[in-house]
Symmetry: C2
Subunit: 137 residues, 2 copies
């Protein structure tokens, strides 16, 4: 066994040539990295993908392929599209909260007397924020 073979060539039980397309991105000390992407994409598809990318960007490509493969192994139905949906929902929630907070500022600017007595006690109180926002929006 050649100890210098990369993780891909070890897994595929073949000689690791000096110009191996996998070698720089799949070191022998991290065999799982290749196992994951081989399981989802297959070795020949990964080789084709890497070959079509300029060499200075292949590390990033191998990293992103590995990440996507990991998501797909953890969630075979949605893969990283599940994470994208979660993040989009999170953006929607924070944007909604921001709009409500901005509406609250606008409301207080227009009704300083109405809110002054409650202001110090209610800063950060969600029910007060919701009430003020609902008046304004």
């Amino acid at each position: 066994m050649n100890p210098g073979r990369c993780a891909a060539c070890r897994y595929l039980r073949r000689r690791c040539p000096p110009d191996c397309i996998f070698s720089p991105y799949f070191p022998p000390n991290n065999p799982q990295r290749f196992v994951s992407i081989h399981r989802i994409y297959g070795a020949s598809n990964v080789a084709k993908l890497l070959q079509q990318i300029p060499s200075h960007l292949r590390t990033q490509a191998a990293d992103s392929l590995y990440l996507e493969a990991q998501y797909r192994i953890e969630d075979p139905v949605y893969g990283c599209v599940g994470l994208i949906s979660l993040l989009q929902q999170q953006i929607h929630d924070v944007e909604r909260q921001l709009a409500m907070t901005q509406a609250e500022i606008a409301f207080r600017a227009r009704h300083p007397q109405a809110v002054e007595s409650n202001l110090l006690n209610n800063v950060g109180n969600p029910s007060f924020s919701n009430q003020a926002s609902s008046w304004f929006m």
Copy 2:
């Protein structure tokens, strides 16, 4: 040619069996859908992925595989991991904006006289928001 063959069997130039794993998710009227996922994952890997998923979830799996394949074709280096990074940055930006707006409310609650004269003219003015937030944070 059998006009009833699915897009996958047409592309692979083979008979489309009644229990074809691709047929329900790759209709003949959308050949590009199969071409994209075949290019990134390969037909046999997609078949394996679909077979390990309960049949009532395979439509979602085929959809998410197609989406990921499209992202990878459009951005061979980062694929949909590029979109995930963008969304995470967007969440960070909106959360920062929300924290600044909440700080502005707290500041105004504690200094009603100091801001009252500027309030009506400056609602929604980013430079005023930034100034008020920087005093407080």
